[in-house]
Symmetry: C2
Subunit: 228 residues, 2 copies
């Protein structure tokens, strides 16, 4: 991890890429930026560890992050795969307490780290901030609900198809936000089941699989899988 020297305007511009801060005035963003740190992390580096005091809100402005928990049996469960721009750990930082999970970079990352004190100060100055945070939390809840549904009932092929459609946002080439084993873990699949599902989808002509990129060749075909 490196803390970068940068002018306020640059950090403020990064903050503007996050929906929660996009609607603040430039002055409010600069004030927040003046109390925050711009940091770069290498792929594989840890952002924070489960059970550490939640000292910073992590604003992920470039790269992808794997949020996971270590279970009592020592295995990991990937809870979220986060892609920039996104907030990470806003609730524990806001509310006080410990990080409920660990976070590690799955690519090189750029982060604006906002200390808890600065965040609380901003929330006092800007009463709409807690509302925006709540919207973030709510969308996180919906993501977890969908994951839970997928874990309880859907086949591997349906989980993978639905994940790829969600990643794509209409694009035809999608980069996996993490290594295949982490994506498999996130989807609640064994690595082999994940590979089998990719192969099955490739056979239908819906996708083409290269190393870490997946080409969506026929989106209609991919969506068809969800309703079959």
């Amino acid at each position: 991890m490196k803390t970068l020297q940068s002018c306020l305007a640059v950090t403020a511009r990064y903050l503007a890429t996050l929906p929660t801060f996009a609607k603040l005035t430039e002055d409010d963003r600069k004030l927040l930026a003046s109390e925050s740190y711009l940091r770069s992390y290498d792929k594989g580096e840890c952002l924070f560890q489960m059970d550490e005091p939640a000292s910073h809100l992590v604003c992920l402005v470039r790269g992808s992050v794997r949020v996971y928990r270590v279970l009592p049996d020592g295995k990991e469960k990937v809870i979220h795969l986060v892609r920039a721009p996104a907030l990470i750990a806003e609730a524990p930082t806001f509310l006080g307490g410990a990080y409920p999970s660990s976070a590690a970079c799955t690519t090189d990352c750029l982060v604006v780290a906002i200390p808890r004190k600065a965040l609380l100060g901003a929330a006092t100055r800007l009463p709409e901030l807690p509302w925006r945070m709540m919207a973030e939390l709510f969308s996180r809840l919906r993501e977890l609900t969908r994951s839970l549904e997928a874990h309880s009932q859907q086949s591997g092929v349906v989980r993978v198809a639905s994940f790829l459609i969600g990643l794509g946002h209409g694009k035809s080439a999608v980069d996996l936000p993490a290594a295949k084993k982490d994506v498999a873990n996130y989807l609640g699949l064994r690595a082999e089941s994940f590979s089998r599902a990719l192969s099955a989808l490739q056979k239908t002509g819906a996708i083409e699989v290269t190393d870490r990129q997946i080409l969506i060749v026929d989106r209609d075909q991919l969506e068809q899988v969800l309703v079959e």
Copy 2:
């Protein structure tokens, strides 16, 4: 569903049982109560349906509720089993939009229904309210995270033991908050696997199972299951 005629003080007292409203002044609670409805529901009645506009925050002050989603294949997935006192659907009511799931009473219930407009008014008067709601959402996120972990890795026996310990809060007799099939669904188990897990736990001497009540005979034994 019946809307009950009650004096403000009674509705306000019910609101005081909810952590989110417990720290308001009596006057603030009475004002909120004056804009809300005290309602009783019979077991099996629906509180709201998925995709309906989120018009009311449901404050469950007596009884238990099953929050579920209907999946594309028509099956239900139980997302939460909620016991009074608890808030239901605070985020969509706060933020606007539709209920992301349906809710039905698994016992007779008593509810204070707060209309969206009254909730927004209260949040403007009481800036700590959005923070409290955020804490509620965060604890919901943690519950879902634990569910997801359980769905992805734990055995049926461990899921059931952990659920019973959570229900018990130190008590020796626990009432299931919903029918066995709903509890099984919530835990991501088939009804038969749920019954098998109960039998297995009964054989260890940890619990005794009657109709809808479960007696925790040996809590240490039950907790032992989690670490084996």
